[in-house]
Amino acid sequence: MRSRIRIITTRASYSGIRAANFFLENSANYRAQLAINRDTISVSGKTNYRNDVLNIGWYRAEARVLRAWYYAELIKRYGGVPLVTRTLGLQDNINLPRASYDEVVSFIVGDLDRYKDSLQVNWKTSSFTNNDGRVSKGMALALKARTLLYAASPLNNPSGDVARWRAAAAAANEVLVFAAGAGQYTLDNNYRDYFLRNNTLTSGETIWAIRYPASSDPERRNYPIATAGGASGLTPTQDLVEAYEYKGKPDSLNPYANRDPRLGLSIVTNNSSWNGRTIDQSAGGTDDRRKTNASRTGYYLKKFLADGLNLVQNQTVVHNWPVFRFADVLLMYAEAMNEAYGPDNANGYTLTARQALNRVRSRSGVGMPDVTVTSPADFRAAVRRERRVELAFENHRYWDLLRWKQAATVLNSPVKGIAVSKTGGSFIYTPITVENRVFDASKMYLYPIPQVEINKSNGVLNQNPGW
């Protein structure tokens, strides 16, 4: 039988919140603290001191924004949670009741508004480019936009209050205005390479990326089992592949021809080149799907993975995680503007919803035709499909399905794959069911508060409905 869940005690949200509170409480006199026992007289000493003062000043604003980030991650999962805005000691009552979802949203947005101008505006263009990866003004604006988009979404806005969509649209517009100014955000012109190596950090598309040292772990986990060192790992579903539109005429012999280029840039399909060979999943082929631990779906992951890394010789490569990127902001804007004003009303802002959506689709190297549907409902479906494709594997999909209240149907349906066979030199592709999925809509739209926290709280913490 299954082993118990690995208990993870690090990287918890409230530990991050406490670290932010602790630093804020112990750095109020940072100028004096930084001056103790050091040279502030010589030219270089003075410069170092001044740089340290600048950095701690930014760090104090960053701590506020990171605290807001941790709260945003918490409410995305649990709904309202206790708001802790200072470190709690032995003498404090630590049994705090949950604040409402909306109260935490107000707290997040309030702090982001208050501290966004105390942050480094843009690390890339500053004299501290090495610090890129720390929080900047653009990140704070993007976090506000995402937070308000979630708050406006059906899950958190059951009455469909349009004022919430207007607030989300205004916040996304703030990012667009900043992007055209000091942020200098653009769409990268290479959708494949953007997710590789240091490009994810240095590209003008990135608003906030988290940096990691070089590693071969993502490749080890997700290269095909037939590549030495690979484990197949996460394999894309047929459901996702079907979301990529045709760009030209369908080819009856090759379902992957004439598709949205992002398909071939994000997913390894049969009869395509990967790791220096042509993937062949038919009987007797190198990637024969009947082999132990070969892909059950007929696809392999490509996004984020370098091609042809030599795992046997432990070749490694840098992978940075794009938390906020410009295309995501354009899609947030398109979604919120459509709900607030419809597809073609710019409301005096920089772009209409349609212009923002089509800008993502017309990225150099992607070049998908404009979306022309006219009704807000059809446009909504187009934005949702675009998010699914553009942001595939970037850990957005589950949360998008929840906030759109589509999980009850989508996550309760079996996922499909494709079986590959070969007759007379041509591949035949047959859809198959890979596995069933269960989503209980009576409770799973929110995580349960961990039972251990409920038990400790002496009845103060209320559990979410159904758990």
């Binding site: 299954r2 082993s3 869940i5 005690t9 990287r11 949200s13 530990s15 670290a19 932010a20 602790f22 112990n26 750095s27 006199n29 004096a32 603290q33 026992n37 170092n48 340290d52 600048l54 950095n55 760090y59 960053e62 701590a63 990171l66 980030w69 501290f128 610090n131 720390r134 988290i210 940096r211 040292p213 590693s215 772990d217 993502p218 986990r221 197949s232 790992g233 996460l234 394999t235 579903t237 459901d239 996702l240 631990n293 992978h319 995680w321 594997f393 850990n395 589950y398 399905l401 996550l411 996922v415 069933n436 999925r437 269960v438 995580y447 508060i449 961990p450 039972q451 926290e453 758990w467």
Partner: protein, 95 residues
């Protein structure tokens, strides 16, 4: 697991994530290097999104991907709906 690879302007022990949270204000103010370690501390709790679940992306929880070897993986709790308040593989609520 990846180590957070951010750099500080002054290269001051950013990667040293051991945090003595019992420092007094006196010991703290006596060492400005410590200030930078506290400044970096809020970053050290950011989750590595490359390893959100089963040391891999969060994607197989949704309809995007399927875990090849589900036998011992935490994603099964989500896929078959058996997760709960006691066993939630994505529980990063408190330490």
């Amino acid at each position: 697991m990846g180590v957070l690879g951010l750099l500080t302007g002054c290269q001051k022990e950013f990667l040293d994530t051991r945090i003595d949270t019992n420092q007094t204000e006196e010991t703290l103010s006596s060492n400005y290097a410590t200030l930078f370690s506290y400044a970096n501390a809020p970053y050290t709790f950011l989750r590595n999104e490359f390893t959100m679940l089963d040391n891999n992306l969060f994607s197989p929880v949704s309809d995007e991907t399927v875990q090849t070897t589900p036998g011992n993986s935490n994603v099964l709790f989500f896929n078959n709906g058996s997760w709960n308040a006691i066993s939630n593989p994505d529980n990063y609520y408190a330490g």
